[in-house]
Amino acid sequence: MEQQLDVLVDRVVAELQKKLAEMGKQTPVQAEPALVMQESEDLIDTAEAEPERTAHVPHPKWEAGLQELLESTPARIGVWRTGVRPLTRTMLQLRRDHAAAVDAVYGEVDQALLDEFSLFTVETQYDNTENYLKRPDMGRILNEEGVRLLQERCQMRPQVQIVVSDGLSASAIDANLRDVLPSLLDSLQSYGLSCGTPFFVKGGRVASMDHIGELLEPEVLVLLIGERPGLVTAHSMSAYMCYRPRKGIVESERTVISNIHAKGTSPIEAGAHIGTILSKMLEQKASGVKLVL
């Protein structure tokens, strides 16, 4: 019975396809030749590094207006369509962005960059990336080697402790550290604040600052950490700040500046502003919701 049905369906489909093909010959589809052209261009274009964000609407009624809308949001708008589906160009872009996000999670921070700022590396108990993703708790505690390294190499009880971590996006650190960190250091200098020994935490989570706080007892700590990558950008970084970080601190006691990347919060301006926030934390002896900015 089932087999018969399958055969029947196959036959009907074959028949339909034949008919459709004939119809296609009789009335050549006039639908938007521009579209067809665009599709073929797509295949070449997508190889570029950072494609300009342009709308693909073939004949917009108000081109300037569309361009303004496009500039007002990083969302994928004006992408046009083919039938009810997105264009190949749009699909490839989406998959490319998704791949970049995956790469950001699985990637590693460039060692040359860490050397440039003389950052030595300590690890959390994350073990490997798969485990890091499944066990956030293990990314919050340094491993024994890490603890030993900090005790050996770091200045104890500094006024300001700077920590850098890959978090969920190594590429965020690669993309932004060169702009944020020196700007932050300049800011500390102009406020006359002193800074401890900065270092890099591999496989870190935000709350790793609590464990580090226990170990080094800084007055304030700032953690520059890669954010969970999204489809808009995979290079976004956050700065989490805390007054006297320690075990058991609650999330509301952390202050954060997020979305730091070339097209979001300006990295140099963020660096300068982090210095202002840290100096206010020291003044008010508070952070998070208790801090008045």
């Binding site: 702009d179 301006e269 202002t276």
Partner: protein
């Protein structure tokens, strides 16, 4: 700080009338708590509007500063505000009054008596823009996404502004106004402004001080004047009508979708018709006739635009000055509060393409030449010679920031070694980073004021107010951008 109100005052001393308003502006935080702070003016409320006073004069062409001061004192009392509450605002000395001999004196007097706020002495361009904003033309151009023109016609001049989608794109000023011809109830003409003589001749019209004018004669002059102004604005004819233009002529014809007339004469368009010379001369000039003829042209003649009612007529300029003149800078800035306010800084612009900023040789050349220009124009003294506006940088890396800061600091110290303060205005959000980079290089000699996210053009003047909550700077940009003479 999540939000705050600031008080702003507008004062308009015109050729024929003087008025003031008090408004309050709400600053609201536009960014989330996870971003850098960014504040904007999110609401503007009118708190108090004074009656319309006749501008007190001594003799024929001198403003009575003392009496204006007295009016203001009285009005502040009625409005129930003290001078110290006022954080921003503008004084506009309009029309022909501005060229009267004691205008400068008045400005200083008003600055003292109206609070230590930001003071603007308007050129006709700024006045037209502010009146257009006060009349609601700017908002309207946004709503219809097109071109809207407002002409504010007062006693001495008519200031026209063209708005396209919220942006002022052109201004033009006419010698069109009520008090250009003054007369008594018998039609005896006591004054005809010399500014309209050539136009009158070209039109074959005549009216002179000492003569007695007839109703029909004044009607014809008012009618022709209305037509000339509209011909000019619509681009229909500019040879003869151009004689009425004060200052810069318009270079191009901009298609106009909607058109409104504000100002005292705008209000008179809706007054009862004047039937005889007694009614025409009720203010001692031919303003009522001008209003009536404009209304007649509106009703009977076809110009290629829609006429709309302005939101404000006689108070359009003062409301624009009080409520619309103030902007605020980005909220991450580098300032020294005790150096503010700073008034009347001319703008010099360093506008380079992205690649030029990145090119050290080019950057050095351009920075040098802009400072040389500054030195030629403003000289070297202990004062602040100008505000340097940076444009076109786009994304700024730390390395580029250092190069820019180094060039600017070096060149400034070389050319303006005596100046105690350096003012820089950035287009994009980078003022705090650049300010601190400059500070680390200059170490207080000179002091650095660096603000951002304010759009200025070469030829503008800028006033920086006292900071609100530490970092928010009220700014008044006095634009002269449409005026090539500046």
């Amino acid at each position: 700080m999540e939000e705050q109100w600031i008080k702003s005052v507008g004062i308009d001393v015109g050729t024929s009338t003087t008025k003031m308003i008090v408004s309050r502006l709400r600053l609201g935080r536009m960014s989330s708590t996870f971003s850098l702070p960014r504040f904007q003016i999110v609401e503007r409320q009118l708190l108090y509007a004074s009656p319309v006073y006749t501008t007190p004069l001594i003799g024929f062409d001198e403003i009575d500063a003392e009496r204006i001061g007295a009016i203001l004192k009285d009005e502040y009392q009625k409005a129930g505000i003290s001078l110290s509450e006022i954080k921003s605002g503008a004084v506009i000395i309009t029309g022909e009054t501005a060229s009267k001999k004691n205008a400068q004196h008045i400005v200083h007097l008003l600055a003292e008596r109206s609070g230590d706020f930001v003071v603007a002495t308007a050129g006709a361009d700024l006045e037209g823009v502010l009146a257009g904003k006060g009349a609601g033309a700017q908002k309207r151009s946004q709503a219809i996404a097109g071109n809207v023109v407002n002409v504010d016609i007062g006693g001495g001049t008519a200031n026209a502004v063209f708005f396209y989608r919220g942006k002022a794109i052109a201004t033009v000023t006419f010698h069109v106004g009520g008090r250009l011809i003054r007369l008594d109830e018998r039609g005896a003409v006591s004054y005809v402004s010399p500014n309209i003589t050539s136009w009158l001749t070209a039109k074959g019209l005549s009216v002179r001080a000492g003569e007695t004018a007839t109703y029909a004669q004044l009607q014809e002059i008012a009618l022709q004047m209305s037509r000339s102004m509209l011909d000019y604005l619509s681009g229909r004819e500019r040879q003869i009508s151009g004689l009425l233009v004060s200052g810069q002529q318009m270079q191009e014809v901009i298609p106009v979708e909607e058109f409104s007339i504000s100002g005292g004469v705008g209000a008179l368009m809706h007054a009862d018709p004047v039937r005889d010379l007694t009614e025409v001369s009720r203010y001692g000039d031919f303003g009522p006739m001008l209003g009536q003829m404009l209304q007649q042209v509106r009703e009977r003649e076809t110009y290629p635009f829609r006429w709309i009612e302005p939101e404000q007529t006689v108070r359009a300029t003062v409301i624009g000055a009080g409520m619309q003149s103030t902007e605020i800078s980005g909220s991450t800035v580098h300032i020294k509060p005790e150096l503010l306010p700073i008034k009347n800084l001319p703008i010099l612009k360093l506008e380079l393409a992205r690649e030029e900023w990145e090119n050290p040789v080019r950057l050095h050349q351009e920075a040098t030449s802009v400072y040389e220009l500054g030195l030629r124009l403003f000289g070297s003294s202990t004062a602040i010679p100008f505000a340097l506006a940076l444009s076109g940088i786009g994304y700024c890396s730390y390395a580029l920031l250092q190069r820019i800061a180094q060039e600017l600091a070096d060149a400034y110290k070389r050319y303006f070694s005596e100046s105690k303060t350096m003012v820089v205005i950035c287009e994009t959000d980078m003022a705090k980073a650049l300010g601190q980079a400059l500070f680390l290089r200059c170490k207080g000699a000179p002091e650095i004021i660096c603000i951002d996210q304010v759009r200025v053009e070469y030829g503008d003047y800028i006033d920086l107010g006292e900071p609100i909550s530490g970092t928010i700077i009220p700014v008044v940009v006095k634009t002269l951008a449409f005026d090539e003479r500046a």
